[in-house]
Symmetry: none
DNA sequence: ATGTAAGCGAGACGGTACGTCGTGTCTTGCT
DNA sequence: AGCAAGACACGACGTACCGTCTCGCTTACAT
């Protein structure tokens, strides 16, 4: 996926190259690095070398290695964002959460996601990129689906939809980030049931 | 703090100093730095300078600046661990979660906690320190309280207590780490009610 | 010294400075240190500080503090190399050796030279710098002068010119390095006479 | 030759040990290190570890690692010091110089001697140890032999015996220290002849 | 089509931090 | 009393990044 500088159509390294080409090479190299060696290894130095690109260029386009990492990750893993609405809220939630959990587990997204959220705690650029490109859109999507259900009477009128979202996705993140043991896909239905019906006896 | 730190004042900085004295100075300086300037500023270099301690010593006792930060933080925020058991599960959960949320908000723990959990995603030493000294004990405490409630029939027999914990604390962490907007203490009762009774109509 | 050092005065220390300017500052500071405080004091740390230069830069250009010391010394004491040929071998040798001895004594070269040769025994970089820039060229010059004399019949045909060189300059170095008592200029004629006519009765 | 701390007669490492035993272990370990890995490797740290001795002890008895190295070397290579007097000055000089050259070459003394003389240029303790234990006694011995020869008329009355010594031994040291190419034993007779009869035509 | 300027590669420099090693000093505990 | 063990301050080394800057070149765009 990432192409070595040498193989770059035989051109001498100097002179101006189309911005698109440069950006593509950078994102490819950065994505490779992130998946292969983790966020710590994703330094401007290394990306520049692997992408056959000048470090100057990286500084021009990205404010920090973390920001580059975030963008590289989004460019790679356009995740499935559309939220199904089959009318069956429980089924839809299970579908969506299971897709989320499986995306983490099966596509190797666990480490990059954890590392990026981790970096966001310290690097405002990463935080912004993460929020704008990922967290907020997903949250809004879920909220919208829940709002529809609430209007249809499938959720209590006084239910706090934000809290529901926090409980569902927060439970997954909690294990990933705080406990270090990712959420298992097989538990998703129980998670949804707990969110819908609670843990107390009826 | 140390039993023979007394006669030491006039001496030059060379030679051996009691370990306890040094450790205390380091943890104090590290804690200050963490709270004042954040985790990024907590480097061995700076801690050494502020604590009047040799950098060598830091390397001897802590594997990474992050690990030192974690320990410094624990040394400072020991408390808040005992889980009440008044017999009223809902009230106890609210008490405990509210204490957690307030600890984050009112004692300035928000940033350090977020940064430490963030660093744990990348630095295994921080991860270990965090798990052993914080996450796991707290989790166990909560689980134990829920187990009692379950035995008393106040929670469904088939409730998954781990999931309940993930939903309650995970919701708080979710806002803090993923959304960047800390959980508000006034929402705690609703959070607990959602966990106990769910969002679906009865 | 550099062609565009002019407009640079007001700028902050960051960014690139002309290599020549930096090198000059480094060599000046290193030479000062070497002469003033000796080779032990010539550390990268101190040179960097005194030259207003980054330590990184020193590592980039010199493999070891010793190597830097050697170069700094050569940059300062270029001269004294041309070997006279007046036709009078004895006089020429005396001239040259006396210049050597006086250079050591009068220009404060004794200590640096001794220290550099000393360091060369342990630091291959110093050894190489010393050989290439100093010892070998000088030796070759002397040998050449002796070769001419030998061709003119002023030295025995079977004389070993290398040995003659070793005896003349070696005697000086012997006192300096092994005995610690520099050779006195007034003894130079006797030294040359001994080399030419030996110590045995005719 | 050097004995590991573990094998040291089964004693626990603590408590007082006879000084002689400690000194012997130290000198053995230091000598090994010097010959095996060179002077740079002979640090107090390493000697202490290899000799099963406390670093404190080394500081008590030796002012610097160099001084220890020097003493360790002398303890090991009690060199043949007695100067023969067969009546034949030329033969005696050849014998003695050849022994010197061969000692350097055949017994691996080249590197340690060069390194010690090198260190002496910078470390006054090494310089003193070297002078007192080696250079001066040897010089005196040679001078004495030459003085006898001079009294017997085998050297000119006006010959400067110090210069003769400087020329003979200085030639060897010159190659070793300044040129880096040790003197060859087969050249010794020519060296002596040059010293006795000079390089000029009779 | 041609000149100009925008943008790139290369790479040096200042700076901060890390991790390591060595020295000299000091304390403690054992023998 | 003397030694081993070992902690501490200090200073230096070597490395890795980051952010900044200069230079030379090439292509893209505007004229």
């Amino acid at each position: 996926m990432s192409e070595n500088a040498a193989g770059r159509s035989g051109r001498p390294g100097r002179g101006r190259r189309p911005a698109a080409e440069v950006r593509a090479a950078v994102l490819a190299a950065a994505g490779d690095l992130l998946l292969r060696d983790g966020l710590r290894a994703l330094t401007f130095d290394r990306v520049a070398k692997e992408a056959g690109v000048s470090r100057t260029t990286l500084h021009r386009w990205w404010p920090s290695p973390g920001a580059l990492a975030a963008e590289a990750y989004f460019a790679r893993s356009r995740p499935v964002l559309d939220f199904p609405d089959t009318g069956d809220l429980r089924a839809d939630l299970i579908t969506q959460l299971r897709a989320f959990v499986r995306w983490l587990k099966d596509e190797g997204a666990e480490r990059p996601v954890a590392e990026l959220v981790g970096a966001a705690q310290t690097d405002p650029d990463v935080a912004r990129a993460w929020s704008e490109n990922y967290a907020l859109p997903r949250r809004e999507l879920a909220r919208e689906r829940l709002r529809v259900a609430q209007r249809q009477g499938r959720l209590r009128a006084d239910a706090d939809l934000d809290i529901v979202v926090d409980q569902l996705w927060g439970a997954c993140y909690h294990r990933l980030l705080v406990l270090g043991t990712p959420f298992d896909a097989s538990l998703v239905p129980r998670l949804v049931d707990h969110a819908l019906h609670g843990a107390a006896p009826r």
